[in-house]
C-alpha cells in the first residue's frame, strides 16, 4: 500500500510540474497579450485635484501602492510632463467628459478641457495633429475603433523621428524580408548537403557531417561575430574596393546590411536544415529505394524523384526550425546591420526593389532598444511589449503556415512511417 502511495506521489509530482509548465505557458501568453495590446487601448483622461489646490490633467501611466505617475500635456518636447503624485495628496479624482486628448505627429500628447484644448493645440502644436479624441466621452464601440486605429497605425506606418512614437512598418518588413531571404538562401544549400550526406559514405561525407553536427548548437552571437568580421569587414569591404570605389569612404557593402544579416542567419540555420532533412531521408523505408532501383531507376533518380518528395514533411520541419531560430535571433543582427531607425526600407518601389546592402530595422531589435535604450522609459516599455507581440505574431504566422502544410503532407505519408 505504501508502495502504491509512493508511486502516486511520484506521478503527482510529475503531473504538478507539467501543470506548472502549462501555467507558465498560459501566463506568458496572457502577459504578452495584455502588455502588448494595452498601449493601443485609449486611456481615460483624468483630472486630479490636489490638497494643495493644484489641478492636474493627464493620463495615468503607472500606479503603485502609494503613488501614481501622471503624464500631462507635453509642451516643449516628448517626455517632459511626467509627474509623480502621492495618493495621499489627492483630494479628488474625476474623468471630465469634455476632456480632449491630442496626438501630435511628432509623438507628443496634449490634454485639455473644452476649448482650452483647441487653444493649446493652436499655441503649442505647430506640428500636425494626428488625432483628437475625447476618450472619457467615447462609448465602448468608439473605444474599440480607436484601439483598432492605433494598432493599425502601429503596424502600418513608419516611426516618428524620436522613435518614441509612430508605427513599426519598416521593422516588420525588415523582419519578414530577412527571414524570407534567409530561407531562400538556406533551403537549397541545406537540401543539397542533406542529399549528399544521404548518398555518400566516404571520408568527405563523414567530415561534412562532423562539421554540421559540431556547429549545430553554436550560439548565434558567434555567428554574428563571423558575419561582422568576415562578411562585413572582409568580403563587404572587398566588394566596396572593387566595385564601389567611387563612393568610398562611404561604405556600400562594407557595413552591416540585409544581405550580410541574411547570410549570417542562413549559416546559423544550416545545421538545423541539414540534420532535419537528412533524418527525414533516412527515415524513409529502404524498400522505397530498392523498389525504384528494381524498376531500373538510377540512385539519383530514386532520391530526387521519390525519396526527397516523400521527405517533404522533414524538409518543412527543417524550414520551420530555421524560421523559428532566425526570426528570434537578434544578437547576431546587432553586429551585422540592424539599426534602430533606418532611413530607407530594404524593399521598395525603386529598382532593383530589393536592396541587399541597406541597413534595416528588425522587430526584435526594436524590442531591445525600446526596453533598454529608450529616451522615454515610460513610453519605451509598453512600446517594447507591442513590438514583442508583433514579433511573436510574425513568428507564429510563419511557423503555423509551415506546420499546417507539413501536417497535411504528413497525413499523406503517414502510412510510409509504420
Amino acid at each position: 500500500m505504501i508502495r502504491r502511495r509512493l508511486d502516486a506521489a511520484g506521478t503527482w509530482l510529475l503531473a504538478g510540474t507539467a501543470a506548472l509548465c502549462i501555467a507558465l505557458l498560459l501566463g506568458l501568453l496572457l502577459l504578452l497579450l495584455r502588455a502588448g495590446l494595452a498601449p493601443f487601448w485609449p486611456a481615460p483622461v483624468i483630472e486630479l485635484s490636489l490638497h494643495d489646490g493644484r489641478v492636474l490633467l493627464g493620463e495615468v501611466v503607472s500606479s503603485e501602492p502609494d503613488s501614481l505617475v501622471l503624464r500631462g500635456s507635453e509642451r516643449a518636447r516628448i517626455g517632459d510632463a511626467y509627474s509623480r503624485v502621492a495618493l495621499a495628496d489627492i483630494a479628488m479624482r474625476t474623468q471630465p467628459p469634455d476632456a480632449l486628448a491630442l496626438q501630435l505627429a511628432d509623438g507628443r500628447r496634449l490634454f485639455g478641457r473644452g476649448d482650452e484644448a483647441a487653444v493649446l493645440a493652436g499655441a503649442l502644436a505647430p506640428a500636425r495633429v494626428l488625432e483628437a479624441t475625447r476618450p472619457n466621452a467615447d462609448g465602448p464601440i468608439a473605444r474599440i475603433g480607436l484601439f483598432a486605429r492605433a494598432a493599425a497605425r502601429f503596424v502600418g506606418t513608419r516611426p516618428d523621428a524620436s522613435a518614441l512614437g509612430g508605427g513599426m512598418l519598416p521593422a516588420l518588413l525588415g523582419t519578414v524580408t530577412l527571414v524570407l531571404l534567409m530561407s531562400i538562401l538556406v533551403m537549397p544549400l541545406g537540401i543539397a548537403t542533406a542529399v549528399y550526406l544521404h548518398q555518400r559514405r566516404g571520408f568527405l561525407a563523414r567530415s561534412v557531417r562532423g562539421a554540421v553536427n559540431l556547429l549545430a548548437g553554436v550560439p548565434s552571437i558567434v555567428y554574428g561575430v563571423l558575419g561582422l568580421g568576415l562578411f562585413v569587414h572582409g568580403i563587404g569591404a572587398g566588394i566596396d574596393r572593387w566595385f564601389y570605389a567611387e563612393r568610398l569612404p562611404v561604405p556600400t557593402f562594407g557595413s552591416g546590411g540585409l544581405l550580410w544579416a541574411a547570410l549570417t542567419l542562413a549559416l546559423l540555420t544550416l545545421p538545423v536544415v541539414v540534420v532535419s532533412v537528412e533524418e527525414g531521408l533516412a527515415r524513409i523505408p529502404a524498400g522505397l529505394r530498392d523498389g525504384a532501383l528494381a524498376l531500373g531507376a538510377t540512385g539519383d533518380e530514386a532520391v530526387w524523384g521519390l525519396l526527397l518528395p516523400a521527405a517533404r514533411p522533414a524538409v518543412l520541419t527543417g524550414l520551420i526550425l530555421a524560421v523559428a531560430r532566425a526570426a528570434g535571433a537578434v544578437a547576431p543582427l546587432m553586429l551585422v546591420g540592424v539599426v534602430k531607425l533606418a532611413p530607407a526600407l530594404p524593399l521598395d518601389g525603386t529598382f532593383p526593389y530589393l536592396h541587399p546592402s541597406r541597413q534595416f530595422m528588425h522587430l526584435g531589435f526594436e524590442v531591445y532598444d525600446a526596453a533598454l535604450a529608450s529616451a522615454d522609459a515610460i513610453r519605451g516599455v509598453p512600446r517594447a511589449y507591442a513590438c514583442a507581440l508583433l514579433l511573436v505574431v510574425v513568428v507564429v504566422v510563419l511557423n503555423l503556415s509551415a506546420i499546417l502544410l507539413r501536417n497535411r503532407l504528413r497525413e499523406r505519408y503517414r502510412a510510409l512511417e509504420t
Binding site: 500500500m1 504538478g16 524560421v323 526596453a371
Partner: protein, 360 residues
C-alpha cells in the same frame, strides 16, 4: 494483357529512345553538380567560423595583458547564468517530458507537446523583455514569495498525492486538474506578501542572476523538454506493455524499464540545455545588468561573454586589441558549446543505436 516482348525504350522510335537515354544522363550530371557544389559551399561556410576566429587571433602576442582575466570574469558570468537557468529548465523540462511521454492522455499530449515546442520558437528577446520589464521589478520585492512558492508547491502536491493519489487510477489528465494549484499558490503568495508589506529579501541589483536564471530557464525549457521527450517516446510502447503485463504500475514501468532505456537521452537533453544557456545572448543582455561581478550570489548582476560581444563588438575597430580579445571570448564560447553539443550528440547516438536494437 498482351505480353509485349519489345522493350519500352524500343516502343519509341530508335532515335527517340537514344534521346531519352541521353537526356537521362544529362539530368544525372546536372544533379550531381548541384549537390556537389551546394555541399562544398556549405562546408566552406561552416569551416569559416572556427578558421576565421583562429586567423583573427593568430599573432598571440597582440592580446592585451588583461584579456585572460577579463575573459575569466565574463566566463564566470556566463556560467552563473547558465547554472541558474539549468536549475529551472532541467527539473521542469525533464519532469514534464516524463509526464507527457509516459502518463499523458494522448489527446492532452497532442496539444501540450506542440505548445511547449512552440515556446522554443518564442524569440528570446521577448523573454528578455519580460525579464527586464516585468520580472525584475516584481522580484525586487518578492524574492521571499518566490522561495515560499518553491517549497509550497511540491509540499501541497505531495500532500494531495498521499491523500487522493491512490484513488486516481489514470493520471492522463491530471495536469489540467492540478492547473489551479500553481495559480492559486501564486495568488496566495502575492496577497500575503502585500499584506505583510515588508521586503524580506532585497536583491542588490534588480537585474541579477536570479532574474536571468528564471528567464533563461524558460528559454531553455522547450529544448530540454523536447529532446528528453523524443528520447523517452522512442522507447517502444511494447516495452512498457510488457512491464504492465507483469503487474507493474505505470510508475514502476517508467522507473524500471523506460528510464533505463532512455536515460542517456535525458543526459543529452541536459547537456544541450546547458549549452544553449551558455550562448544565449538577448536574455542576459537585457536582464543581467551587465555588471562584471564575479561570485555565486544569485542576487547580484553579471556580465556574460555573449552580452559583451553584442555590446562591444559593433563599435570596435577590426584588428584592434579589443577586437582580438573579443575574438578570443567568441572562440572560447564556440569551443565550450561545440564540446557540449558533441558530447550530447554522442550520447544521443548511443541511445539511438541501443533503441534500434530494441525490439519494438
Amino acid at each position: 494483357m498482351p505480353v509485349n516482348p519489345v522493350t519500352c525504350d524500343a516502343l519509341l522510335s530508335p532515335d527517340l529512345a537514344g534521346a531519352h537515354a541521353r537526356a537521362r544522363r544529362r539530368r544525372e550530371r546536372v544533379r550531381r553538380a548541384l549537390v556537389g557544389g551546394g555541399t562544398a559551399l556549405v562546408m566552406a561556410g561552416l569551416l569559416a567560423i572556427p578558421l576565421f576566429l583562429l586567423a583573427g587571433l593568430l599573432p598571440w602576442q597582440g592580446l592585451p595583458d588583461d584579456a585572460w582575466q577579463r575573459l575569466g570574469v565574463l566566463a564566470a558570468g556566463s556560467l552563473r547564468a547558465a547554472a541558474f537557468a539549468a536549475l529551472v529548465a532541467v527539473p521542469l523540462g525533464l519532469a514534464t517530458a516524463l509526464f507527457t511521454a509516459h502518463f499523458c492522455a494522448p489527446r492532452l499530449r497532442g496539444w501540450l507537446k506542440p505548445s511547449l515546442e512552440m515556446l522554443e520558437a518564442l524569440p528570446t528577446v521577448v523573454l528578455g523583455l519580460v525579464a527586464t520589464a516585468t520580472l525584475a521589478p516584481w522580484l525586487k520585492t518578492e524574492v521571499a514569495t518566490l522561495l515560499a512558492l518553491l517549497v509550497a508547491l511540491p509540499a501541497v502536491l505531495l500532500a494531495l498525492a498521499f491523500a487522493f493519489g491512490a484513488r486516481v487510477r489514470r493520471a492522463g489528465w491530471l495536469p489540467l486538474w492540478l492547473l489551479p494549484l500553481p495559480v492559486a499558490l501564486v495568488a496566495i503568495g502575492l496577497a500575503l506578501g502585500a499584506r505583510s508589506g515588508t521586503v524580506a529579501i532585497a536583491p542588490a541589483n534588480p537585474w541579477n542572476a536570479l532574474v536571468v536564471g528564471l528567464a533563461l530557464g524558460v528559454a531553455a525549457l522547450p529544448l530540454v523538454y523536447s529532446v528528453a521527450e523524443d528520447a523517452l517516446f522512442l522507447v517502444p510502447r511494447e516495452q512498457a506493455q510488457a512491464a504492465f503485463a507483469l503487474g507493474a504500475t505505470r510508475w514502476q514501468a517508467l522507473t524500471t524499464v523506460v528510464l533505463p532505456a532512455a536515460g542517456s537521452g535525458l543526459v543529452a537533453a541536459v547537456l544541450l540545455g546547458v549549452s544553449r544557456c551558455l550562448g544565449e545572448t538577448m536574455v542576459v543582455l537585457m536582464a543581467s545588468g551587465n555588471t562584471p561581478i564575479a561570485g555565486v550570489d544569485p542576487l547580484t548582476g553579471l556580465r556574460a561573454i555573449s552580452a559583451e560581444l553584442a555590446l562591444v563588438l559593433p563599435d570596435t575597430a577590426p584588428a584592434s586589441t579589443t577586437w582580438r580579445s573579443l575574438l578570443l571570448a567568441a572562440l572560447a564560447l564556440l569551443a565550450v558549446t561545440a564540446l557540449l553539443n558533441r558530447l550530447a550528440e554522442a550520447v544521443r547516438a548511443r541511445l539511438r543505436r541501443r533503441l534500434q536494437g530494441l525490439p519494438a
